[in-house]
Symmetry: D2
């Protein structure tokens, strides 16, 4: 991941694109890429989404590559460690949805998020 982050930095510096990459703009670009990812799935049934045809899977992988690039780029600009942020959030979620309660009521809580 460190190697990837450095590759992203170099890619943007070489193109003089850093000037466009405020966190606000990077968050928008991330959302744009996630929109393209949604488009891959929007007309599929849930079942179809579990068994993607090869070309569809390739398209999904590309979009997820883009999403990862912008997410890492944004995190890099803000000095945020994504793995660390995810661990912290997961522990917070574990307190918010204790196993015994969450298990009984399935997704009831999270629907209200």
């Amino acid at each position: 991941m460190t190697e990837l982050i450095e590759k992203i930095r170099r890619f943007n510096q070489q193109r003089d694109w850093e000037q466009y990459h405020s966190p606000k703009n990077l968050a928008m670009a991330l959302a744009g890429e996630v929109g393209e990812l949604l488009e891959c799935f929007q007309w599929l049934t849930e079942q179809q989404s579990r068994n993607l045809a090869p070309e569809k899977r390739a398209a999904v992988e590309e979009e997820m590559g883009d999403v990862t690039i912008y997410l890492l780029n944004l995190a890099d600009h803000l000095g945020i460690d994504l793995i660390d942020a995810a661990h912290k959030k997961l522990e917070q979620n574990a307190r918010k949805y204790p196993i015994d309660k969450a298990k009984g009521q399935a997704k009831k809580y999270t629907e209200l998020d």
Copy 2:
């Protein structure tokens, strides 16, 4: 990252939530979290987004934690390696936006993405 992926798996299995986690649904949940991230930035100037106040930064970090969790969860269900996907996409982008052309015209190309 491997540790985090296993933690996410265990978290969801313990709560019987796997049944809701089709790739289609996970893509939607990812988009929902990115929407919350956007809301952190929407009324800030670009300059303000570069210098987040502490509470704002904490909120951004939480949302990015959520985004990372859903992105990893989705990748795990599809058997996609995010780091690998990002490397591949970056190399594709390097061919699409050669340094000398991209540098001269700045963001001209990417606007059309």
Copy 3:
């Protein structure tokens, strides 16, 4: 609709919020609200989404109210007539997906949009 647009304008002027409402920011806010709408649907099956429970339906209606407000606000700032824009796009789509071809192959084309 004209009455609604004027009400939105007045609402924002009275609160001095116009200063925040650049088209860029309004597009972000629109996306944030659409993210909240997605969250209403993300764990539902398609079938459940066709028969919303009353509280869920009320939540969806609220989010769609927010989406409409930001969409109209954005259009108002850009001097774009949404009804007109939709008519034009629909005619463009009709040429892009001629009935006989689209009917046979169902969603094949639009998946590539």
Copy 4:
């Protein structure tokens, strides 16, 4: 608007696309189009977004046409009146952000939305 809604219905019926248009799927498609709208604005400054170049403005108008089509289509499937939903939400917002408080503190509140 009634005319437009009927045109959208006819467009989809003629292509046998109704089968794909569960509210869940339509919400995803709406989000996908909003993602494309974001991409129009992501590298612009706020000031540039207030003065769009003609080709950019045409692209924005097209995306807003798509957004309007999916929003109306979704509302039609759910039996929701968008104008009515927006009026109700605006009145709710007026109670949530009373003029005198909101005015003094500008966007403070809405940042927490």
